[in-house]
Symmetry: C2
Subunit: 324 residues, 2 copies
C-alpha cells in the first residue's frame, strides 16, 4: 500500500510530518509518498539521515492551502497545492489513500472530488473518539456538515457503526443521538425527526445521550450535526487546556500532561478518515505532532486493509432500505 502524505499540512509542517513518515515506514509494510516542497522535505530527511529511504518518495507540489482560503474555491487558485497533489496521486492510481493535517475544508473538497460520495450521501462526514475518558466513543460529525437534515444525521449513525466496528473494534456498536435531555420529548426538531428514523432502522440505536455523559462510555457512536460536534470538540480542547494549565501551575506537570492528552485527543492521535466518500482520506488535526501524524497514517492503512469503504456503502444501502 502507498499512502500520499501532505508533508506541508498542519501547524508543524515537514518538521512533524517527516518524522511521522519515518516512524511508520520503519515497520516495512507501507510506502509513503511525501508531497510538498522538495527542498523543505529533503532538509528534514537529511537531518534524520534518511535521504534515500527505499519506502519513501518525494513528490513535488507548489503551495499550501491556508485556513483563510475558501475550501470550495482554492483548487482553482492553487491546483498544485500539496493536498491536491496528494488526491491526484490517488486518482492516478499511484497511491491508495491520502493523509493530511492541513485545511479540513480543502481535504474534504479534495476527497469529495477525487472519490465522489457514496450513493445516498451528499457529503462526507468526520468522526472519531475525541474524549480520552471514553476512548471508544466516536462522535460524528465533527464539523464537515454544518447544516444537516434528519436523513443525513441518521446516515452518520450507519457510517459510525461501521467505523466503530472496523476502527474501534466494537462488535455491536451502540448508536446514540446527542441531545439536551434523555427524554424523547426533549430536543430540537432535527433530533426528534432523526430519532424517528433511527428507531425504524436495524441499527443498535440506544436512544439519547446527554453531553454530560460523553466521557462515560455510554455509547460507541454519538451522532450530532457538525456545528454541535465541532463545539464539543473545541470546547473539550479549550477546557482541557485551561484545566491542564491550572494543574501545571500547582506543580503537577505529569498530571497536567495527562489531562491535556485526555482532552486533546485529535492533536495527540492525529485524525480520522472522512466517512461517506468512495476512498480513503484521513483528515487530521493541524496541531498534531509526529506521533499523532504517524497514528493517522496507520489509520489509513488499517481502513485500507479492512474494506472500510465497501462496508460503509453496504450498510448505508441497507439502512436506506430500512427507513424508506
Amino acid at each position: 500500500m502507498v499512502v500520499a502524505l501532505d508533508a506541508m499540512g498542519g501547524d508543524h509542517g515537514p518538521g512533524a510530518t517527516i518524522p511521522a513518515a519515518l516512524d511508520v515506514v520503519s515497520n516495512g509494510d507501507l510506502a509513503i509518498a511525501l508531497v510538498g516542497d522538495p527542498q523543505a522535505i529533503s532538509d528534514v530527511l537529511a537531518e534524520h539521515s534518511a535521504t534515500n529511504h527505499p519506502l519513501l518518495q518525494v513528490i513535488p507540489s507548489d503551495g499550501v492551502v491556508e485556513e483563510t482560503d475558501n475550501p470550495a474555491m482554492v483548487f482553482r487558485s492553487k491546483p498544485r497545492a500539496s493536498i491536491f497533489v496528494c488526491s491526484g496521486l490517488v486518482k492516478m492510481g499511484k497511491a491508495h489513500a491520502f493523509v493530511s493535517m492541513g485545511s479540513t475544508g480543502a481535504s474534504i473538497a479534495a476527497a469529495t472530488v477525487t472519490y465522489g460520495t457514496m450513493e445516498g450521501i451528499t457529503r462526507g462526514c468526520l468522526g472519531g473518539a475525541i474524549i480520552g475518558f471514553s476512548p471508544n466513543t466516536a462522535i460524528i460529525d465533527l464539523g464537515a456538515n454544518i447544516d444537516v437534515r434528519p436523513q443525513q444525521l441518521a446516515d452518520f449513525g450507519t457510517l459510525g457503526s461501521v467505523m466503530s466496528r472496523i476502527i474501534y473494534g466494537q462488535k455491536n456498536p451502540r448508536i446514540a443521538l446527542l441531545n439536551v435531555g434523555s427524554e424523547e420529548t426533549k430536543g430540537n426538531t432535527l433530533v426528534k425527526e432523526t430519532a424517528e428514523l433511527l428507531t425504524r432502522s436495524n441499527l443498535n440505536y440506544v436512544g439519547m445521550i446527554e453531553p454530560y455523559d460523553l466521557p462515560y462510555d455510554k455509547a460507541d457512536v454519538v451522532i450530532c450535526d457538525g456545528f454541535v460536534g465541532n463545539v464539543v470538540l473545541k470546547l473539550t480542547e479549550g477546557l482541557g487546556k485551561a484545566i491542564a494549565d491550572l494543574v501545571r501551575d500547582k506543580g503537577a506537570g505529569a498530571l497536567a500532561d495527562e489531562i491535556y492528552s485526555m482532552t486533546n485527543q485529535l492533536a495527540t492521535y492525529g485524525g480520522g478518515p472522512l466517512l461517506g466518500v468512495n476512498g480513503i482520506a484521513v483528515v487530521g488535526h493541524g496541531a498534531a505532532g509526529s506521533t499523532g501524524i504517524a497514528t493517522a497514517i496507520k489509520t489509513a492503512k488499517h481502513v485500507f486493509d479492512n474494506d472500510f469503504v465497501a462496508a460503509q456503502q453496504k450498510e448505508l444501502d441497507e439502512f436506506h432500505t430500512q427507513v424508506s
Copy 2:
C-alpha cells in the same frame, strides 16, 4: 423585598433550600416565603433552631414538578405544585421574585405565564457564566430555546448585554457569537444571518468566538441557540467531573475540588435569572447545594435592586429599531 423560594425544588430539596434561606435572611435585608410541604419545611427549620424566624414565612404547596413531567402540561395536573405557588405569590403581589432549583421547563412556564414576555420577545432565555476560568463570560441561551431564529438569537445579545452590565458589572460588554470558526465564511445559516443583524446594531459586537476560547475571557456575552448552549453547559460539567475524578485518584483532592467547581459553576453558584420576561425568576440548577441556592436568592435581590427588567425592555426596543 420578598422572595418566594421553591423549597421543594432541586436534587436536595428542603435540606439545601432551607439552610440557604437562613443564610440569606441573616443579612436582614430580605424576607423569604418558603413554599413547599409545611411538615418537611418545619422539620428542617427545627433542625436549625429557626422555627419562628421573623424574615421567613411558610407557604404550603401540594406536589412538586418532576423532570419527567411535560412542562407545558404540568400546570393542569399539579396546579398547587411548589413552583406554581411561588409564581402565584408574585402574581398576587405577595412576593417580588421567585427562585427555584426545580424543573427548568416548569420554571420557564411559570415565569412566562405570570410575567408575560417582553415586547418583541416570544420566549424567555437563560444565561450565565458557567465556566469558572472565565467568570464574567455569560453564555446565552443555556437551554430555554432549542430551535431559534436569527432575530431571537440576536435578541439574546441585547438581553445578555444588560445582564453583563447589571449582574457581572461589565461596563461595555463585548458580545460574541459562538461559531465553529472565527472567519465570517464559517458557521451555519443561523449564525451567518444573526451576524448580519448584530453588525447593524449598536451593540458592542466583537464577532465570532470559537468554543476553544470560551475559558479565556474573549467576550463578556456569548450567544448561541439553546441546544448548543446546553451542550456547552453539560459537556463542561461532565468533562470537569471526569477530570476532577482523575485528579482525585492521583491523591490531589483539593485540586480536584477546585477543578470541579471551575467546571460546575451552576451547581456551585446556583442559577441565573430568566431573561426576556417582565419579572424576576431565578432558575437554578437541580444539583445546587445551599451555598449555590443562597447565591441564587441574592441574585434575585440584586436584579430587583437594579431595575434589571426595565433595562432589558428598553435595550430590546432600541435594538429592534436599529436592525429593523
